[in-house]
Amino acid sequence: MKVSIERGTLLKAVSQAQSVVERRNTIPILANVLIEAADDKAQFRATDLDIEVVDQAPAQVERSGATTVNAVTLHEIVRKLPDGALVTLTEEPGSGRLTVEAGRSNFQLATLPREDFPVMPASDYAANFSAKSDVLRRLFDKSKFAISTEETRYYLNGVYMHVAEGEGGQTLRCVATDGHRLARIDADLPQGAETMPGVIVPRKTVGELRKLLDDDDTPIAVSVSETKVRFATEDITLTSKVIDGTFPDYSRVIPSGNTRKMEVDAKEFASAVDRVATVSSERSRAVKMQLDEDRLILSVNAPDSGAAEEELGVAYGDDKLEIGFNAKYLLEIASQVDRENAVFLFNSAGDPTLMREGNDTSAIYVVMPMRV
């Protein structure tokens, strides 16, 4: 194999591959990236056996072929090469070495045979559709903070992507929850997605997917089966197993009868929460909200370290209410709001609270109060 690629193009392809590779590996081949060169193209493939990413880059192929080499090492080398350099990758058959050349730099890397590299078997997908990059980006960005890390509830360790019945008809919906907060994000259902089975996209896949998604309307090809999900741009294909489990019936935990409404500037609210929480160093810091006629008092009382209080002007016209929340959860949901005011809907101090942006019900958040 002999192939030459522009350094920037190569770096982009290799960095996607090396981020999929597990850092601590007991199987040596899994630390490697599979390089295949043919027809003016070079393909870089990496896997952790759950996720596979294939990145394609234009290249000058002098001699086609394939080999595997340590992904992290190759990435480090390419990263340190000067911008604009032309990088040539050469492997003489049977040599067991890949030569990386650029300008006056020359590297020799040990290879493993391509036959040992596990390639994810192809699947039949139940649904294939196209979604815009920024739409997918919003769906996952606004939900991923609520993904659980609890291993015993493995079925919560991802984002539940499915077709749901929304207010204006069918929607493409992403839901994540860890039992303390929940995010439910809707988007218009793309054509062809109607037959999609609901799948739980694992946390790591969400992270990798995010790297493919720019904030524009580039079409992303999405394929979904009961066991796998695939996202593809023109150059990159990300295939992932989905979590084998049943996502809980989240609809019954979304409160529908919360009538006490508070409207607040989300930025102002988040900064105030952040400020008062400073006095407490506990792992779960409780912030107390005292609501009265158009007035919100945020306070933290940490017996060991101190106390803080701040008053905010809000729109609130219901009975007095005292309710506590974990400061981190409040900050996280408040930071999801980017255009309008944050609207909180309360019931009582012991019931789940709902938050949304203005009157937009396409993104709603539920957070469980904390005893204070």
Partner: protein
């Protein structure tokens, strides 16, 4: 009588009653005086205490009961009467409190005492006061104990064991190194079979072996234990005698009458263990962030699983549900002879059970039911109200 050059300078003591449970039984029933007596629960249990007559025959505490009976078939087996032992323990505690406020009880029958600076008050050095203490215990309570006196807790505990029963042993500063040199490292409290094997693999069997290691190497190989070993090898132990030694974990376990892999039986035991742990946590006003499940197989191999909670708990319900999850994960590895549950990483109860689970709306109701149950049991006794699974 005893004499030692540092006798009147040492002030850290360890008092250990001699075959405490058995001694209480013999005191209360003179017929048992010269018979081998074993305190322990049932045919399947383990020996909790053996009197010295039984010990001559090879019976040791923590030995399975069937084994003890093989060694000493005519032994009188007595079920423990914890209230009596607790009563005797309180009486001893009261006597110790006349000596010093710095008492750290390790269990009902042993405690550390720090008598530093009490010589003036009592008009006698610690050694004399301790000798009076054991004499009073014997005269007034009919119970004997052994004293270890030294310059730190580690050595005091070692000393109390040197000359049991009715012992009074002293390890002075000057002789510490010579005393330890050829002793096995298993002398260190907390060095059990596993640590002993690990040390053995590193070629460490005696304190002399330990002295050949430098501090960094010990730490690198044995972690935080390594640093402690380095100090102990030099007879150094800076832990204070503390009346309020923090509780690190709460756990309960039970050995079954017969090994079982019956899911229903195990589930019943699991609930009862969780309830006991929760009761103790509530009584102490604490809660735990880590739930621990312990299972012992027929061949005595141990399975231990733990799970961190996001919100510390003191509720039997949460404890049970988490432990049940761990139990289900272990799968079918039985039959088991023992099951235990516990809480560790303890925090004050004010920080427990603050955020209910969104996905388990009934949890709140169950928590309220549990609190109500607790109140009923406090009023009418612990059997006044039970869960169905508690009687399986």
């Amino acid at each position: 009588m005893l004499s030692h050059p540092e006798l009147f300078d040492l002030s850290i003591a360890h008092m250990d009653c001699d075959a405490f449970y058995a001694s209480v039984e013999k005191r209360d029933n003179p017929e048992l005086a010269d018979k081998p007596v074993i305190i322990g629960g049932g045919r399947r249990g383990v020996v909790s205490t053996a009197c010295y007559v039984a010990r001559i025959r090879g019976v040791r505490s923590a030995m399975p009961m069937f084994q003890a009976l093989q060694k000493c078939p005519e032994a009188v087996i007595i079920k423990p009467r914890m209230e009596e032992y607790a009563k005797a323990s309180r009486a001893i505690r009261a006597m110790m409190e006349e000596l010093t406020p710095d008492i750290e009880p390790l269990s009902l029958d042993e405690a550390f005492l720090d008598l530093t600076g009490t010589a003036r008050l009592h008009g006698a050095p610690p050694a004399v006061m301790l000798a009076r203490l054991v004499k009073r215990m014997s005269d007034e309570l009919g119970l004997t104990g052994s004293i270890g006196l030294s310059h730190n807790k580690f050595l005091a505990k070692v000393a109390s064991d040197l000359d049991k029963p009715r012992g009074f042993s002293v390890i002075g500063k000057a002789e510490t190194d010579a005393f330890l040199r050829d002793r096995p490292v298993s002398l260190i409290w907390g060095v059990g079979q596993v640590t002993r094997d690990a040390l053995g693999q590193a070629g460490i069997r005696t304190f002399a072996d330990l002295l050949r290691w430098n501090r960094a190497d010990l730490s690198a190989r044995f972690g935080s234990m390594g640093d402690r070993l380095w100090h102990l090898a030099r007879g150094q132990d800076r832990r204070r005698v503390s009346a309020h030694a923090p509780v690190k974990s709460i756990s309960n376990e039970t050995t079954f009458h017969e090994d079982t892999s019956d899911w229903h039986v195990l589930d019943g035991h699991l609930w009862r263990m969780c309830e006991k742990v929760a009761d103790r946590a509530k009584a102490k006003g604490i809660a735990g962030r880590v739930v621990v499940l312990k299972l012992k197989r027929r061949d005595f191999s141990l399975i231990s699983r733990r799970q961190s909670l996001r919100d510390p708990t003191q509720l039997a319900d949460t404890l049970y549900r988490t432990a049940r999850g761990l139990f289900d994960q272990v799968g079918d590895e039985g039959p088991y002879r023992l099951l235990g549950a516990g809480l560790s990483d303890l925090v004050p109860e004010a920080r427990a059970d603050l955020t209910p689970d969104l996905l388990d709306p009934e949890a709140n109701q169950r928590a309220r039911a549990e609190r109500a149950t607790d109140e009923i049991r406090a009023k009418f006794g612990s059997d006044a109200i039970l869960k169905g699974r508690a009687i399986r």
